[in-house]
Amino acid sequence: MVQRYGLDIAGGAEYHCRIVAEHLARHAEVEVLTTCASDYVSWENHYPEGVEVLNGIPVRRFPVARERDLRRFAQWSRRVAGPHSDADEERWLEEEGPLSPALVEEVARRGDGYDHLIFFSYRYYTTYHGLRAAPERAVLVPTAENDGVHRLRLFAPFFRLPRAIVWNSVEEREMIQEIAPVHRMPGDVVGVGSQLPAGLDPDGFRKRRGIAGRFLLYLGRIDRNKGCDELFAFFLRYREETGSALKLLLIGKPVLPVPEHAAIVQLGFVLDQEKWDALGACEALVMPSRYESLSMVTLEAWWARRPVLANGRCEVLRGQCRRSNGGLYYAHYDEFRESLSLLEADAALRRALGENGRRYFDANYTWDIVERKYLDLLGSLA
């Protein structure tokens, strides 16, 4: 069960849910329960209500009763950021949405018909109320980020309800353990695999896109929430101070104005293979986001044997870089400059970090491993 589901929804917990569902469908009968929403901001009903089959998976969609009012949501977010009551938190969750009582009723009514109900993303109305409607069959994949939401009081008892929790990272587990006694609850750090390409064609990518010279790659939504504004400022300052000729290549949908500068190249959306070829051609992947529960593009960069330069203020990214020995990280500009200088200057270091990253990926994030962890966990609950 997930708040949105569709082949056109890229990235985030929704994509995570879809590829897990498609892989688990090789071992069990899988159905998806979700809303008719496609837009994560408004939750506007977009897909038709009812059942459709996507990549062999039956998807049951339920309507959203009320779209999200951003102004009201902001007001309630401000309210729960200060002194507030439990009722305020319930109201905040309602405003967060997607408000789909029909989906929650379906879980309550038909939940017994499933062996397991896997809920993705703890912070949404559908997950919170859906899981509470059928906790005895529930497995939670929280995809929690360290953005403070998990500290709302209503979530502490909530995390104790499911039968098991599938964590994205060790750091995510530690973060939730701070607010809820889930130490003894069944669970495992699993994460997710990737749809890997047959091979990489970095030279072809350069030719097709007319890109000469070395570049740093950013993959994902170009958004302030992803730390892109800080990345632009740091990168331009780095070039100015060091005289570096490195470029910054951006792949993804821009929702933030990108500085007009010859060193910053924007490609917008690209096909999956093109993304992999870009990874093969880059010097390193930069991941400036402060809030990640698991960065799939970071793992993909490691599969492509590329080092990562990550935002060290994100505990998950910092932990992944340390455990894999596959990337450097920064908490402020000075560390950004020194880390990037080092990566730019030392080809042997880049290779070694990339190789370490690949070993880390192979040891933890191949689909065989991810599927096995899910199946073992679900099997232990039977």
């Binding site: 353990q177 130490h183 003894r184 894999s324 020995n325 990280y329 402020h332 000075d334 880390s339 030392d346």
Partner: protein, 183 residues
């Protein structure tokens, strides 16, 4: 970079430690006056470039005030730059000066423009010094921010540790109660 990383058995934590040490060393040495002036000039560059000044003007501005600022004295209005002809012209204008003064009084204008010339030089000096001082403050602010981040990290770590220890106490299993027969 002044330090090398051994690529065999790369240890990211060790690399980050080396990077932090290097940053710390830089900060301890802080910046020399010359480095601050250099950084300040970069800030000034940004200001000037932002307004799309004529590049020649910027170059002149940097070189010597005499090349961009005008100097003004009592005779400036009557002088000419055309060599010998100019000197003759200057003499003629001086001769006609008393007649000209019957029509208008140039003294307030001469006085105002002289003062403006001095003010221009003063403003340029002030602007450069302000840029230097701002740069110093900016560096100090950056250092304080970095210290604050480091302290925040320590506080977060300590509070996590504290909570974990508290939970260890709360959730420690009670020893199983034995029956009267000791079973």
């Amino acid at each position: 970079m002044s330090f090398e990383i051994k690529t065999e058995g790369v240890d990211v934590q060790a690399i980050m430690g080396a990077i932090r040490k290097r940053i710390e060393e830089k900060r301890q040495g802080l910046y020399s006056d010359a480095e601050i002036r250099e950084i300040a000039e970069k800030s000034l560059d940004a200001v000037l470039d932002a307004h799309e000044f004529n590049p020649d003007f910027v170059k002149d501005f940097r070189a010597q005030p005499s090349r961009w600022n005008f100097s003004f004295h009592e005779q400036t209005l009557y002088e000419s730059s055309r060599g010998a002809v100019g000197r003759a012209l200057h003499g003629l204008r001086r001769l006609l000066q008393p007649i000209q003064k019957l029509f208008w009084n140039p003294n307030p204008m001469i006085s105002a423009l002289s003062r403006q010339s001095d003010l221009n030089a003063y403003y340029a000096h002030l602007l450069t010094n302000l840029a230097v001082e701002l740069t110093k403050l900016n560096l100090e602010l950056q250092e304080l921010k970095n210290r604050q981040l480091a302290l925040q990290g320590r506080v977060e770590f300590d509070s996590r540790r504290e909570r974990t220890l508290e939970q260890m106490v709360v959730f420690r299993e009670e020893p199983e109660k034995k029956g009267p027969d000791g079973a």
